[in-house]
């Protein structure tokens, strides 16, 4: 990935995460004492499921882009850098995929 594309993707994901981040905290605060059934009912609404999926994908993506910069700045050695960046990208992709699957399961089952 070119540095310019990395820069743009970091800013674009950041921009969309501003409203999504506020929505996420507001939702979690409102659900602070909710049980599993109530949260499932909430999460199975199409708008909520879509927003949660978007928050997770963009959050994981923005996170992977940011962790990459930190690794490039503080980890010595090109090989170790490449390895750690690949590892972080793998973790973030896996986590996002698993969470998307979980949202899909809840949205289908209700």
């Amino acid at each position: 990935m070119s540095a310019t594309r990395h820069w743009w993707r970091q800013r674009l994901t950041a921009f969309f995460l501003i409203p999504l981040g506020i929505w996420l905290i507001a939702s979690l605060v409102a659900l602070a004492d909710a049980d599993c059934a109530m949260i499932r009912l909430w999460l199975s609404r199409p708008l909520v499921a879509s927003l949660m999926a978007l928050t997770l994908v963009l959050g994981a993506w923005h996170g992977a882009l940011g962790v990459r910069v930190v690794i490039e700045d503080y980890v010595p050695g090109h090989g170790l850098q490449r390895g750690l960046i690949a590892f972080s990208n793998c973790i973030m992709s896996l986590v996002a995929s698993a969470a998307l699957l979980a949202i899909l399961v809840v949205a289908m089952e209700g």
């Binding site: 800013r11 950041a14 921009f15 995460l17 501003i18 981040g21 506020i22 996420l24 905290i25 507001a26 979690l28 605060v29 409102a30 602070a32 004492d33 049980d35 599993c36 059934a37 949260i39 499932r40 999460l43 949660m52 997770l56 959050g59 994981a60 996170g63 992977a64 940011g66 962790v67 930190v70 973790i91 973030m92 986590v95 996002a96 698993a98 969470a99 699957l101 979980a102 949202i103 399961v105 809840v106």
Partner: protein, 135 residues
Amino acid sequence: MCAMTAIERPLSPHLTVYRLPLAAWMSITHRMTGLALAVGVVALAAWLIAIALGPGPFAVVQDWAGSWLGILCLAGWVFSLFYHLCNGIRHLLWDAGFGLNLSAIRASNRVVLVAGLGLTALALLLAFIVVWSGP
């Protein structure tokens, strides 16, 4: 040329004796909260997976979230999100060319700190009210 590399030149800035300005501390905090939020994405995913798996796994996550360590982590993530969000908006404005002079940066330092801490306090207060008022 060899002699040149042998000379021990002073390094600048002297990070061990140099008092970092507030903007520098805030830049470091932006990265630290960013890393905390990357871990937070993993925690959010774990929460969603537990919800999909059912009441049993959900109770495990809920028990942890109600423990002192859980509350500390949740409070830390709420602060990290609001701080990173507020300072991130400032970064986007800087990227667009706004607020790049010293007096504007000193003013926006305060705005980001007050907004970040204020929103954190508000969210945590509301969460405690929701929990304590009960169903």
